[in-house]
């Protein structure tokens, strides 16, 4: 198991769409991911759970990853939450490379 911390970079915090992006990424990994904030936890493969954390911009969330691909999952998730969420999602059709 691996625990890392990330500062929420989305200007409006963990709203539904941001939660959706996190879920989309987490689903590409086999690891179990739990995100903790303010004494609460949520499964990172569940949009509702993540949104219910109501984690605000600039606050730290704790990411707990366990599974075979935990290293990669932790690294990608930290990048998504701390960096990529600051920008709107790349529109469908646009190149993501």
């Amino acid at each position: 198991m691996k625990t890392v911390t990330a500062t929420v970079s989305d200007p409006v915090g963990f709203h539904l769409r941001a939660a959706g992006r996190i879920v989309k990424l987490t689903k590409t990994f086999a690891s179990e991911v739990t995100i903790r904030y303010n004494g609460r936890m949520a499964n990172a493969k569940s949009i509702m759970g993540l949104a219910s954390l109501a984690a605000e911009f600039g606050t730290d969330v704790e990411i707990e990853v366990s599974g075979d691909d935990e290293e990669a999952a932790a690294q990608r998730l930290v990048h998504l939450i701390a960096v990529e969420l600051a920008e709107p999602e790349t529109p469908p059709g646009a190149s993501s490379v």
């Binding site: 689903k27 499964n43 569940s46 509702m48 759970g49 219910s52 109501a54």
Partner: protein, 322 residues
């Protein structure tokens, strides 16, 4: 939830317990460490042996009657003796008048002194009830809680296995959703586990392919429930040929949450299987068992009985050498 403090108790119970501050509450939070509430009676008079420190103290009618027999200096001394027990707060019940010297003392020494209009017995019962709930062990689980025929079924299983879809189907059949995705659990009693929704989520469901739906807006008040005792855990799993699933149902499997034993049913899924009807059967079967009827046991007894009867017949015919 956050820590339990005198300030929080005052804020949450001001209206229901008819509270009134006799001295301003200090700005810094005062922690309350235990759920029990004491009457200081003998400690006021000077005998404080066996009194537990750090407990909330309540002055009822007898405490105030005793204080009123003393002069100003004696009153302060008596309260001073209670203060050596380090109570986070002193409550005065029954809307009794508190002598000026004691109020002044509270102001100077900055200890919380709060009056309630309720009689001492009622006040203590209400306060204890509230504190026990606040101090009750709690946790959260990833799952879905549905009231099925009055039985609290907690569906668990990996994300995406179909917990929300199962809840949706049960709602459609007239059952009530308590919480989806995250269930907040509190142990209110030695063997009672109460589940609630998380405030931010309320009764929303996420259905893959559809998105987020609001159950109350779609199905009305009959489809939801605020809280429910959790009675059975239904573990949804992918069908796995190598696993030996329960076939008879005479041996109960249990899981433990916050020290409470819950019957657990592992339910393998495969396409076309009607998980909703099976869930209803699980709920009904649980109720039957509670009411004293164990179907597996009854069938077993009947089979044994049949065998005994046929054995008797065999014996009879065996010995019948006419």
């Amino acid at each position: 939830m956050g820590p339990v403090t005198v300030q929080r108790i005052y804020r949450e119970l001001r209206e229901s317990l008819l509270l009134e501050l006799l001295a301003a509450l200090p700005a810094e939070p005062i922690a309350v460490g235990a759920a029990d509430v004491h009457r200081p009676g003998m400690a006021l008079m000077g005998y404080a042996e066996n009194f537990l420190p750090d407990r909330i103290q309540v002055f009822g009618e007898s405490e105030m009657a005793y204080i009123n027999t003393l002069d100003a200096a004696g009153q302060c001394e008596a309260v001073e003796r209670v203060l050596t027990l380090n109570p986070p707060v002193i409550f005065v019940a029954m809307d009794q008048t508190v002598p000026e010297p004691i109020i002044n003392m509270a102001r100077e020494q900055k200890f919380p002194l709060i009056r309630s209009a309720l009689p001492a017995v009622e006040f203590m019962a209400e306060l204890t009830h509230h504190l026990e709930r606040t101090f009750a062990p709690h946790t959260e689980v990833h799952g879905t809680l549905v009231d099925v025929y009055g039985v609290g079924l907690l569906f668990t299983g990996r994300s995406g296995i179909g917990k929300s879809e199962c809840a949706m189907d049960l709602i459609e059949r007239g059952h009530r959703l308590v919480a989806d995705d995250i269930v907040e659990l509190t142990r209110t009693n030695e063997d009672v586990l109460i589940g609630r929704y998380r405030e931010a989520l309320r009764h929303h469901l996420e259905i893959r392919g559809v998105g987020v739906i609001d159950v109350q807006a779609l199905f009305g008040i009959r489809a939801i429930r605020m809280q429910k005792r959790v009675e059975v855990e239904v573990q949804l799993q992918e069908w796995d040929d190598s696993v030996d699933y329960e076939r008879v149902g005479s041996e109960n499997r249990y899981t433990e949450i916050l020290g409470v034993n819950l019957p657990q049913v592992a339910l393998p899924l495969f396409p076309g299987k009607n998980i909703t009807v099976i869930s209803e059967v699980i709920a009904l079967n649980f109720m039957l068992k509670i009411y004293g009827y164990d179907a597996a046991q009854v069938l077993n007894d009947r089979i044994l009985d049949t065998m005994r009867t046929s054995n008797r017949l065999h014996d009879y015919l065996d010995h019948d050498r006419e």
